[in-house]
């Protein structure tokens, strides 16, 4: 940080670094097997949106959870002047599992 304000946590370390961008939470979507959907965010016009996926497996077996992969096709568009995220199910390895979509913005 070359100049600017510095805000500290209670232990005296910086809460954030002025030289780096932040990532904001938009929402986490739980996509069940076979589903598709979309979300629009007109309030985030001008922002860049990212979406990543993590398996939400809950078979009770960590080995089965590791073996399974459910692919979710995710796309982000700005055609309407604001970000919109859509998703659909693709292929699977093992039994189709629910998937959590992390939608973030910066």
């Amino acid at each position: 940080m070359s100049f600017g304000a510095s805000l500290l946590t209670s232990d005296g370390t910086p809460s954030f670094d002025l030289s780096r961008d932040g990532y904001s939470f938009v929402e986490v979507v739980s996509a069940t097997a076979g589903s598709s959907g979309s979300r629009s965010y007109p309030e985030l016009a001008g922002w860049q949106v990212f979406a990543t996926v993590v398996q939400d497996a809950s078979t009770g077996s960590v080995f089965t959870d590791v073996a399974s992969l459910t692919v979710v096709n995710v796309s982000v568009s700005y055609a309407a002047g604001y970000p919109a995220v859509s998703w659909s199910y693709g292929t699977s390895v093992g039994s189709p599992q629910p998937v959590a979509l992390f939608i973030m913005a910066h």
């Binding site: 500290l8 209670s10 961008d21 309030e43 985030l44 073996a67 096709n73 995710v74």
Partner: protein
Amino acid sequence: MYILSDNGRFIASTSAKSYAFVGKATRTSISYTSEQAGVGRRYYYYLSGGKVTHTVSTIAASAGTAKLQFDGSCGSSTTFTWSLSDSSAIAVYEINSAYRPLVFVRSTANSSGAVASIVLVSGTLWRITVVLGYSARTYVDSVELYCFAPISDAPSGYGIALYGADGSVLMHTGKKLLQPAASVTVNSATTDGSTITVDYDASTSLSGVTKPCVLSVDWFRASVTHKASDLSRALLSSSTYGCYYSGCNVAKLVTQRVVSLGFYVSGGAVTFKAASVSTDAPIAQCSGGQAAGTSLYHSLVTTPLPVTLPVIDGAFYD
């Protein structure tokens, strides 16, 4: 209201909740692949009516010996030596978080980790399943999981906070905010069945990151099927055992593997680290009319690529 960075982009705003550091996940269990229940198995082959069938029973899961027993007209048994590789493990971590956490993994030159799933166990307790790859078991402890989640609690004591229109806390200075320092973009992944090739680009700003941790998300699984012909031939060789298996002269050993990934970042360079783990015990099968061989089948499933993975500097959150 916005708090902007030096380059004019926002760090936090009143438009959305900020992601903040929750803590490092705690490892609660680890299962080395050489010690997975059911990996060591004993195979019994029975000759009946000119056909060979088999049953499988689980034995102690460690390298050693197992007995192959023939019944029927063969009436013999033999003992063979088997071993299991010890280069990967599945570990379970836990973290308390009001929201589903984003997990950044700190890998090293001798160990790597990849998140396979994140599941809510109860209340605010999340279970994170991680595939670990390592050169020696002493290195598994060096894998660290940095967890981030939207701010959910109110500030206490002092500091600055941002509130949304609905009165909810969006950011406060009691928390360290998620601020990626760099990124890795995965362009493609391919496999020929024995190796995984990943094409990726790393941000040039990685050189200034002292403790890089990469966001771990699911983006591919590779499954590989082997015909372990050498072992099969030895076990069912008619010349060795004096048996003739009509219509059933080849036994295949099928090993299914899943490969996940981690990234090791050091000195501004990114290295892809495959962390593979056997997820199915060898299965002996009897298949008529097939010649023994070393055929190998493989498949690779990925999420749509490219995908960009943020990188944080873990040192900022230690």
